[in-house]
């Protein structure tokens, strides 16, 4: 079995690209992990759809205030400089292009930048939340994901087969094997695990990987 990064390591790598002073929305679930790995010399300000800017970590158990939650309904705390606002103002921040980066999970990402991350098909109860807004809002929409599905199929594909969250919206994908930009409708490889051959990476990728310059080593500490 191929060596790959853990989810925490993928989140760590994504966190390294968040610049000082950036306004960031992390999708619920796995992407929330990115906040833990913010480089300590940079300050990011986190936005949550339900109306908070500059929230912080979860409080200790038993000290939750259930009026102070994030979009995943987890209890959070406030940092100095936090603010509250209503949902229309919150999505004005999103849709209006005021966030520097949104980091989301994915079922599939196409080389066109199309993203599918909200529905696995017609079965069950559909739920979309803020995903379709976030993909059109942030200046940079990044995805963090395992490179393949649990049964080994590519998640980076030529065309999404699942219902779309948004068209041509993703600009960078951090996977368990590589860092890939989406430019001009192509997957452009930026970094890959040092021990991984380009052929092996291509074999688990559902569309052509383009080499657009030096390919860096994707080196991530144990976290």
């Amino acid at each position: 079995m191929m060596h790959k990064l853990s989810n925490a390591q993928i989140a760590w790598r994504a966190a390294q690209d968040i610049t000082d002073g950036a306004y960031v929305n992390l999708g619920i679930g796995f992407p929330e992990m990115v906040a833990k790995f913010q480089p300590p010399d940079r300050q990011a300000i986190f936005h949550t759809e339900n109306g908070i800017l500059n929230f912080g970590e979860s409080p200790p158990e038993g000290e939750e205030d259930w009026d102070l939650i994030n979009a995943g309904k987890k209890a959070v705390t406030l940092k100095p400089g936090a603010s509250f606002f209503h949902h229309a103002d919150s999505f004005a921040m999103v849709r209006g292009g005021h966030l520097d980066v949104a980091i989301l999970g994915a079922y599939e990402v196409a080389e066109t930048g199309d993203l599918a991350n909200w529905s696995t098909g017609p079965k069950g109860v559909p739920a979309v939340g803020g995903a379709m807004d976030l993909v059109h809002g942030a200046r940079r929409v990044a995805v963090i994901t395992d490179h393949v599905t649990r049964d080994g199929k590519p998640k980076l594909v030529k065309n999404c087969t699942l219902p779309l969250t948004g068209v041509a919206c993703v600009s960078r994908v951090y996977t368990s094997l590589a860092v890939i930009d989406i430019e001009g409708g192509r997957f452009v490889l930026r970094e890959k695990l040092p021990g991984l051959s380009l052929d092996d990476l291509q074999a688990v990728t559902g569309a052509q990987l383009v080499i657009g310059g030096a390919v860096g080593d994707l080196i991530v500490p144990e976290v």
Binding site: T48, E49, N50, G51, I52, E64, D65, W66, D67, L68, I69, K73, F84, F85, H86, H87, A88, S90, F91, V94, R95, D114, S119, G124, V125, P126, A127, V128, G129, G130, A131, M132, D133, H136, G137, P163, L164, T165, G166, V167
Partner: protein, 239 residues
């Protein structure tokens, strides 16, 4: 001018069968649990209100609040962005059995449609959902080279929301992130009914601190010991 009423029953007396009702809250934060339960009490006693369309970000959690309305059979349709929760049984069972309708709306579009309803904007364009299943059948248009979806305003016959302070003229503040959809819903409904933790005299709220001006509020009832949906849920309470 005094918009306060003495009892929850009086506050919700004119909620009628078939109405569209916006209910404030995002998950448990801001959920007007006591007013929702007062609606359920009335339904149990009189069989009304029923056949309701409920607008909320979610579709209930556990056996309380909106979930309990659904369990009781009062809700014909949910308009929401995320009908999932820690315990979504009430909605899920009825939805899979074809016994409840669902209009799924992206969260930001839901907020903006409600805001448009209150602001007299019958339609607007958003990039959200363009090219997805949720835009099917909706008009699209290009502006400055980018494609957008036309969305319509959303209004309601009544809004039921939770505030922190309310003065007798209906000026409201909210507690922390419990604000969420409530200021938008207050403006988009024909009748806005508020449960406030405390009712104060006009002038007691700093004019700069008012979040919902009284013009958007019709009735206020004081519920000083309001419960938190999330806490009830975790305690396994069923209503």
């Amino acid at each position: 001018m005094d918009k306060s009423v003495a009892t929850m029953a009086a506050a919700i007396a004119d909620i009628a069968d078939g109405m569209t009702i916006m209910i404030g809250g995002f998950g448990g934060s801001g959920a007007p649990i006591e007013l929702i339960h007062a609606l359920i009490d009335r339904f149990r006693a009189t069989g009304s209100p029923k056949n309701l369309t409920i607008v909320n970000n979610n579709a209930g959690n556990g056996r309380i609040g909106i979930a309990a309305m659904i369990d009781a059979g009062m809700v014909a349709k949910m308009v929401c962005s995320f009908p999932r929760s820690a315990d979504p049984r009430a909605f899920t069972e009825k939805y899979l059995a074809g016994e409840i309708g669902l209009e799924l709306v992206p969260q930001g579009t839901l907020a903006e449609r409600i805001r448009a309803g209150g602001a007299g904007i019958p339609a607007f364009y958003t990039p959200t959902s363009y090219g997805t299943d949720l835009a099917k059948g909706k008009p699209t248009a290009q502006f400055d080279g980018r494609m957008y979806v036309q969305e319509r305003w959303l209004k309601a016959d009544a809004a039921i929301i939770k505030a922190e302070l309310a003065d007798r003229q209906g000026n409201l503040t909210y507690r922390k992130a419990a604000r969420n959809f409530s200021p938008l819903m207050a403006a988009a409904a024909s009748v806005t009914i508020v449960q406030a933790t405390r009712i104060v005299e006009p002038g007691a709220i700093d004019p700069e601190a008012v979040i919902t001006p009284g013009i958007f509020v019709n009735r206020i009832v004081e519920i000083s010991d309001a419960q938190q949906e999330e806490a009830l849920m975790r305690a396994g309470v069923a209503y």
